[in-house]
């Protein structure tokens, strides 16, 4: 069971590290990261395993969204099933 974390906004030092820290604290294993910076705009898509995390998934989601608010970034945390359902028949 995986969640997809997307982070969008103005580039800054340490975004990946801070997001990774929140995941590590929750015991969420990072499986894949795609990241790009285009004209100072930072875009990252991260797949994390949420099957065995130490805190409720909703708490991890809240923590990441709160981190995004602190850093001035838009963070979305979504269960992978939503994409599998919308884009695959």
């Amino acid at each position: 069971m995986r969640a997809v974390i997307t982070v969008l906004g103005k580039d800054n030092v340490g975004i990946l590290a801070k997001v990774s820290n929140v995941c590590a604290d929750a015991g969420a294993n990072i499986i894949e990261v795609t990241q790009s910076v285009l004209q100072e705009m930072f875009a990252m898509i991260m797949f994390v395993e949420i099957g065995d995390i130490k805190i409720p998934y909703s708490e991890l989601s809240d923590n990441l969204v709160a981190l995004g608010d602190d850093l001035g970034l838009k963070v979305h945390v979504m269960h992978e099933d939503i994409f599998n359902t919308m884009y695959h028949v």
């Binding site: 969008l8 998934y57 989601s61 979504m78 359902t85 919308m86």
Partner: protein, 452 residues
């Protein structure tokens, strides 16, 4: 394999194009709450709703958070109250409305539908009293919605009920004139009312439904418009394909939410309603989709053709995306709830006459239209009769939700705020159909009904 493009497209749909699941509606049967003692019946109703729906709002919020898809409303639809009220003929059924309102506030839903009566072939015990009580019921409650079915393809149109509803709509507006006549915005008159529609104000839990069921209404006019905008100058066949593809994606998201809600609440999944439901938010408009197809403004000649294409393509795209499709499923055109329709009505590009033509190809009918406060009950009944005739002959649902703006005239504005929006009072043809309405009786069912 999930690719980045799909993820970013979904994020953009949510952030910029108002993608959401509009409503999770729990249908609850109240047939086992019938009691000749109205106080006992009300106690049973309150207890059952609170027991069945106690986790509805929290479950909706949890699913929204888990999947990252906004779920705007959690609502309840119940058995038509006229059936329950029939057992206590000497009592004022408003007590049931107050009970529904109290239960809705306890469980935290924003609307409860089912203060309803089905009289398409005639009045049974409970129907007269319930219909007569609608103005009071909608003025003393906040969350209760009411509907009355006055016709169907199978039975024809009950013109006695049509006559009565003209008066009731006007009385409901009068009772709530201090609140922009909002009572009338919670009252729908149907022909061919579906028994599993999750959208308000016309939701009720039909007698063929199970004890409890989850029905979900999707939305997403903003997403469809954005997809058409990105496509640029393509031909109309490609426009239809884009709508279908987009409707498929939106519906799949709704299907996932519906299945998950049913599983978590341990309630059977009923249907997914594929409707494109606008909100007053800028960009979340069905009118803008029609304009994106190539109209200078909604209401221009060509609008009905665009809406026919849209309504059909939404169904084609959505039908394969869901295991059970039902409800109204199509494109809604509620004037005061759609920013593009409001603008078109203000500029007089959109008239009630044009809207009536549009209702022959949209999913419902004349919806959320403010009319002058001095419009006679007979004229309102005439509008209902016309709309019911369109539904009856075309074997589709049609509805009338008019708001007589008491004390206001054409060009004045009503403002309900929130999802119900607001808009200008529109002009109606004031020539009297009084003699027709006074005839009473029943318009016979059309040949289309003889299918056996």
């Amino acid at each position: 394999m999930i690719n980045s493009h799909d993820i970013l497209e979904t994020i953009s749909m949510i952030d910029n194009e108002n993608l959401d699941v509009r409503t999770i509606t729990m249908g609850i049967s109240l047939l086992d709450c019938i009691d000749s003692d109205i106080d006992k019946a009300c106690d049973k109703i309150y207890d059952k709703i609170c027991r069945y729906a106690k986790d509805l709002v929290k479950t909706g919020e949890d699913i929204s958070k888990d999947y990252g898809i906004p779920i705007i409303h959690k609502r309840i639809a119940v058995t038509p109250i006229a059936l329950i009220a029939a057992a206590c003929p000497t009592k004022n059924p408003v007590k049931f409305a107050k009970t529904l309102d109290r239960a809705s506030k306890t469980v935290g839903v924003n609307f409860v539908g089912g203060y309803s009566s089905l009289v398409h072939k005639g009045f049974a015990p409970g129907d007269y009293a319930l219909i007569e009580s609608i103005p009071e019921a909608l003025s003393v409650t906040d969350n209760v919605c009411s509907s009355v079915n006055v016709g169907s393809t199978k039975t024809g149109i009950n013109m006695d009920a049509v006559a009565k509803m003209g008066r009731i709509i006007k009385a409901t507006a009068e009772e709530t004139k201090d609140r922009d006549c909002i009572g009338a915005a919670k009252l729908v008159v149907f022909c061919n009312a579906p028994e599993d529609n999750p959208f308000m104000a016309g939701a009720f839990h039909g007698t063929g439904e199970p004890d409890c069921v989850i029905n979900v209404g999707v939305s997403g006019p903003g997403v469809v418009r954005a997809a058409l905008s990105k496509a640029g100058d393509c031909n109309i066949t490609e426009v239809a394909d884009i709508v279908k593809r987009t409707a498929f994606k939106i519906t799949r998201a709704g299907q996932l939410v519906a299945q998950e809600a049913a599983k978590r609440l341990c309630v059977p999944f009923g249907i997914l309603d594929l409707s494109l439901a606008p909100t007053p938010a800028v960009g979340d408009s069905v009118a803008y989709i029609l304009e994106e197809m190539g109209l200078e403004q909604c209401g221009a000649h060509g609008t009905t053709a665009c809406l026919a294409l849209l309504n059909d393509a939404v169904k084609k795209g959505g039908a394969m995306a869901s295991s059970h499709v039902g409800g109204l499923s199509g494109a809604f055109i509620p004037v005061t709830e759609d920013a593009g329709m409001i603008e078109a009505a203000r500029s007089k590009a959109l008239s009630i006459v044009k809207l009536e033509a549009m209702t022959s190809v949209c999913s419902v009918g004349l919806d959320m239209i403010a009319i002058p406060g001095d419009t006679t009950a007979d004229v309102i009944s005439g509008i209902i009769a016309d709309e019911a005739a369109i539904g009856m002959v075309n074997t589709k649902t049609t509805a009338v939700r008019l708001i007589p703006a008491i004390g206001k005239k054409v060009g004045d504005e009503l403002n309900f705020g929130g999802l119900l929006g607001g808009g200008p009072v529109m002009e109606v043809n004031t020539k009297s159909p009084a003699k027709l309405i006074a005839r009473g009786g029943r318009i016979p069912a059309p040949l289309q009904s003889l299918k056996n």
